[in-house]
């Protein structure tokens, strides 16, 4: 079995290039900040960032000047308010102007589905009566060949690279995910390259003991990065909690351009890798974010020989 393990540094150096379209997905959960910070450290430029909810992860990358374009459906700090760095780029062109390609959530899901299913379009019941199609010509409609009904359609999205965080994978990249599934499966099947980042590397036997839990097969995977706590301030179900204090605190930091740059200096450029970031946050943070135990009830697949 091929061993695809790599350091985050090497995975980013190998699979993320200036001008690439990059999708770091994960809906609230499993957002790989570790990969975003490494991309910032390696000074990638002119990226087309794809993500349903840009969240703090792209707010930081945009503040660092990595992106020329954003493909998205919701620009907010969930439960808190605005993404101030994105707003500065959109409203004032700081640090550089950014192009927006805007959808609704289901529209973004549909773009990934069309990409993953290799379809010319994906149909959905949305957008009619909305102004969104007037600012995004890629949102079109198709008539039903069965009656006088018609539906909106979106075109396939094929990111150059998807970076997908999950709980566990084997060294070949067979990946298991639980809790919120987001569009992790769809973005992986839609993308040209896939980098898997996990909290734990496990033996293939662990994966094979529960094949229904495998969301991404090794077949799609180019690199496997072992990066514990790699999603902070996001979270991984069963491993650590979302750092809501950080999300609330980012509102204050990100309102001020200089404070934002100082934060990037200290927490991104100022550390060598995720391990140093984790150590810098210190044990009290990880104690605070430690969840209790709630095990899934066992299931038997049975032995058939």
């Amino acid at each position: 079995m091929p061993d695809k393990r790599m350091s985050m540094h090497d995975a980013i150096a190998t699979y993320v290039h200036d001008g690439d379209s990059v999708a770091i997905e994960g809906f609230t959960a499993c957002i790989c900040f570790a990969a975003a910070h490494e991309i910032i450290r390696q000074h990638r430029r002119d990226l087309v960032l794809c993500r349903m909810t840009p969240d703090l992860v792209y707010d930081q990358m945009i503040a660092a000047g990595c992106a020329r374009k954003l493909v998205f459906s919701y620009l907010g700090n969930p439960g808190v308010g605005s993404l101030h760095c994105v707003r500065r780029a959109v409203e004032k062109g700081i640090p550089r102007p950014i192009e927006l390609e805007e959808y609704s959530h289901f529209g973004m899901v549909g773009r990934y589905l069309a990409g993953a299913y290799r379809l010319p379009f994906f149909p959905l019941r949305s957008y009619r009566g909305s102004d969104l199609p007037t600012v995004n010509p890629r949102i079109r409609s198709v008539d039903s060949p069965y009656d006088d009904d018609s539906v909106a359609v979106v075109p396939p999205l094929h990111p150059d690279v998807a970076i997908v965080h999950a709980q566990r994978a084997d060294s070949d990249g067979n990946t298991q995910l639980w809790g919120l599934l987001g569009v992790q499966k769809e973005v992986a099947f839609a993308s040209r390259h896939v980098v898997i980042v996990v909290e734990e590397i496990v033996e293939t036997d662990v994966i094979r003991s529960d094949p229904n839990r495998t969301v991404i097969p090794s077949l799609l995977v180019d690199a496997v990065v072992h990066e514990p706590y790699g999603t902070h301030p996001s979270y991984v179900q069963g491993y650590y909690d979302r750092d809501n204090t950080f999300y609330l605190g980012w509102d204050g930091i990100s309102r001020d351009e200089e404070a934002t740059q100082r934060w990037l200096e200290e927490w991104v450029y100022g550390v060598q890798d995720r391990a140093e970031y984790v150590e810098k946050l210190g044990p009290e943070t990880w104690e605070r974010l430690e969840p209790g135990t709630a095990m899934a009830q066992p299931v038997n697949y049975g032995q058939y020989n």
């Binding site: 609230t28 459906s73 899901v109 909305s130």
Partner: protein
């Protein structure tokens, strides 16, 4: 008998009562979330919460800050992909009521959550649709929760993100929208519903102590009112106790 309460509490109570008998509600965090939890303890015992993050039948052990909070997953009945959530649950017609809000609303319940000013040269760039556009089209009915402000209840939206009754009348039916659109607008001063024919927003009831003039003051257009505008019944002691002692002990929404 009625106890005194804050406008936020009144909003939560009013929204909760509107969920009487409802089985499935599509919900976000904040006031709507509290309203649903209150409804489950009072008028809608079988109410199940659906979150766009992919959660059906959540049993949160704490107040979630975001709709993707891990406390919504552990102990939930079902957690699915967003493709399944939007495709099978929402578009599949399984959502009875959805809560929506926005920066601007017009007289027909159309909503703007995208931009203040031009989309190309925005004065204020807002979050955008998220799931709101398809929710507004597919949920069987929607309830809007917004604070009453003149800059929010406007004559003309800067951007139409999520369709309400569009130009009014039967425009939704003409476009074959599966859902019936906005049925209720719950504010911090009053409750609006929509005229069955014109679909124009109509003042339904005023919260205790609120004057009609205050409401018109905060609405840009010439407001239609029901033949007789009633006073909204204030929260019962039971509702307030549940709200303050069980659902929101920290008083986040007081």
């Amino acid at each position: 008998m009625t106890a005194t309460c804050t406008p936020s509490e009144m909003m939560i109570v009013a929204a909760a009562r509107a969920l009487a008998g409802v089985r499935t509600v599509f919900v976000g965090v904040g006031l709507p979330n509290s309203a649903c939890n209150l409804a489950r303890r009072t008028v809608a015992p079988h109410l199940e919460l659906i979150y766009e993050s992919g959660v059906f039948g959540a049993r949160p052990a704490r107040l979630p800050l975001s709709i993707g909070d891990p406390t919504l997953i552990s102990g939930a009945t079902s957690v699915c992909s967003m493709a399944d959530l939007f495709g099978l649950y929402l578009q599949g017609g399984r959502v009875e009521v959805a809560f929506l809000g926005g920066a601007q609303i017009d007289r027909f319940g159309n909503l703007n959550t995208t931009v203040i000013g031009d989309w190309d040269r925005p004065k204020v760039r807002l979050p955008g649709s998220g799931g709101a556009c398809e929710i507004a089209i597919n949920a069987r009915q929607t309830f809007v929760i917004m604070r009453l402000k003149r800059r929010a209840f406007v004559e003309q939206l800067h951007f139409l993100t999520s369709p309400g009754h569009l130009g009014g009348g039967d425009e939704r039916t003409a476009l074959r929208f599966p859902g019936r659109g906005p049925q209720l607008v719950v504010t911090d001063k009053c409750i609006f519903d929509f005229d069955p024919t014109t679909r124009e927003m109509t003042l339904h009831s005023l919260y205790p102590g609120v004057e009609l003039a205050e409401v018109q003051e905060e609405v840009e257009w010439d407001l239609k009112t029901a033949s007789e505008v009633r006073e909204t019944a204030g929260p019962t002691d039971k509702e307030l106790v549940l709200l303050r002692e069980e659902l929101d002990p920290q008083g986040l929404y007081r």
